[in-house]
Symmetry: C2
Subunit: 354 residues, 2 copies
């Protein structure tokens, strides 16, 4: 495999509304040091992919509003590889933009598309898995998804149902996908967990650039023709102007609906690398180290008294004292404070509304 | 009664440690808009006394560190009436400083001494009561304390035990004091409440300036002689210098120990004007209007969900969402956040320690 053909497209336009108040449309979670480790999620994402391909093959697609955050947090990142969406249009237009642009320079490019607000605990295993998928798509027009081995009946993720009866001859850790499943209810999630051939959909896709461009042309012809119109302007002074004009005309559609539900030849690589989509406070709680009372505290000066099973998160320099809470989220950021039972976290969107 | 002889001494040097984090030694509660009414407690205190005497007869004694707050919050207040203590020495030296100084200019002065971190709901009644006490001490060398009619078995206040068998002939709402009582335990407080002749000690004293200066000379001769040494420098350029030199030599002693426990002829005026010493979060909670769920919210944008009997206090412009709490204090200020059961509020000093 020639790593010079490997490209990574980092989708960094999400708004992270379930992580309020840490995350907000003004400063979404990918630009925050959510883990309290000194690196923001987008920095951690770029770090992970530096071993997969050279930095100049990494692309970040984000909302124009967030361009400054990218510049600030990734000062060494080639700014011409930061693609700016003038408005939100979900994942299919985002991927199309990057892939049309990559293909214009390198039709043999082999591409990983990834969100950047996820966490990965076992980075070497992650890199091994991604390289395995890339070496597969280098020689095939397949779409490979990464399927996370389920460890609990999670209702917050979509699932990938795989046919485990026969691995691919060319890569024995890759299997055909039967179907993509929406977020299940609890009973269904429990059934999925027992079945062993259901994997969490991590939203990480691997394919060569011809495969994805062709699939978009076939299944989303309107979208495809918009990017054909933009293509002559890519890498010119007029690129942003044309994107600003035509990108808003794209349908607001996710890659799952645009492609995955239409294409037959989709594969999954089941893997375990300590993944979490970090979608909610609960998932942050699950993924961070707990003190003996089961509390997760992220912040410089947090004191807990008679408290258990809480997640306390402060991104500013603050002193926090929490007494007598069990199972709560206590989160503050800038001018906003949330105190809420963890089991009510699905209502955070409601709470955060003005 | 000649209101020109009426003077008010406002003691504004307290640190309000039980009100952390709203109040801290850096910015104690008297300088905070604790009630969320747009006026700080010291502003409210000055407002209350403007009807008692002219502004130029009001004196504020505070720690030098707090001089700027007084200036900022009371821009029209005569700055030469702000007396600056170079260090904390409790209430007796504070009162001595003001009274020696007042007496130097007006030996017939009639003085109210008051804390400024208390709240008073019925201001006209408060003013009536203070005037009644002043008219009494104008013609007598008595010390009059204001006794608050107890409405609950409060363990957070000291009590005044009165002899209600006979009112003073010259003022029938004033009675002799039998004894001052320390903060009682619950059982004792309940007994006091049943007894009817026990009143909360509001820490507001009324006397003429000769009475207090004489009492200090007799019962606290060391203190008296220090102020005799300072006296020639009062109202001169050297006043602050001398105070800075000699005030630190004063014994750290409260007026209760210095005088009240020694003097026989002490009187109490039992009154009801919606007083609270606002010493704790619980007392703030008791004194403010509650929503139908029993929550007290002070702050511009506080939303409560499934929460009852809480006090939520923010002094900055903040958005706060509280869900699923019953009987908690949620207080934030600057870089500090406290979430704590209200019944644990006596531990706030412990929580606030570095």
């Amino acid at each position: 495999m020639n790593p010079k053909n490997n490209h990574v497209v980092i989708m960094a336009g999400g708004i992270g509304s379930r992580f309020w108040p840490m995350s907000s449309p003004k400063l979404p979670k990918q630009f925050i040091d959510a883990l309290g480790c000194g690196r923001t999620l987008i920095q951690l994402t770029v770090d992970r992919f530096k071993e997969i391909c050279p930095l100049e093959n990494i692309w970040i697609v984000t909302l124009a509003d967030y361009a400054e955050y990218v510049k600030e947090q990734l000062p060494d990142f080639p700014q011409e590889h930061v693609l700016l969406e003038p408005c939100r249009r979900s994942t299919a237009p985002c991927i199309a933009y990057a892939c049309w642009k990559i293909k214009a320079k390198n039709p043999r490019a082999n591409v990983v598309v990834t969100p950047c607000d996820h966490i990965v605990m076992d980075v070497p295993e992650f890199q091994r898995v991604v390289n395995s998928a890339l070496s597969f798509t280098e020689k095939s027009d397949a779409i490979v998804t990464l399927g996370m081995k389920a460890t609990r009946p999670e209702t917050g993720y979509g699932y990938i149902e795989a046919d485990l009866s026969m691995a691919c001859p060319s890569n024995t850790e890759i299997y055909r996908v039967y179907a993509f499943k929406e977020k299940p209810n609890k009973a269904t999630a429990e059934r999925y967990l027992r079945r062993k051939n259901y994997f969490w959909n991590a939203g990480i896709f691997v394919w060569n650039v011809s495969t994805i461009v062709n699939a978009l042309r076939v299944y989303q012809p309107a979208l495809g023709s918009l990017f054909e119109r933009m293509l002559p302007y890519f890498y010119t002074d007029k690129e942003q102007e044309m994107v600003n004009e035509l990108f808003p005309l794209c349908e607001n559609i996710s890659v799952d609906y645009a492609i995955m539900e239409n294409v037959d030849e989709i594969y999954v690589l089941p893997a375990s690398f300590g993944w979490s989509d970090l979608g909610t406070w609960g998932s942050l709680y699950e993924n961070l180290q707990k003190d003996p009372q089961g509390n997760v505290c992220v912040g410089p000066n947090i004191k807990m008294y008679e408290s258990r099973n809480c997640v306390v998160h402060t991104t500013q320099e603050r002193k926090v004292v929490v007494q007598g809470l069990d199972g709560y989220i206590v989160a503050e950021k800038d001018d906003t404070l949330l105190v809420c039972r963890m089991e009510e976290e699905q209502r955070i969107k409601e709470f955060s509304a003005e």
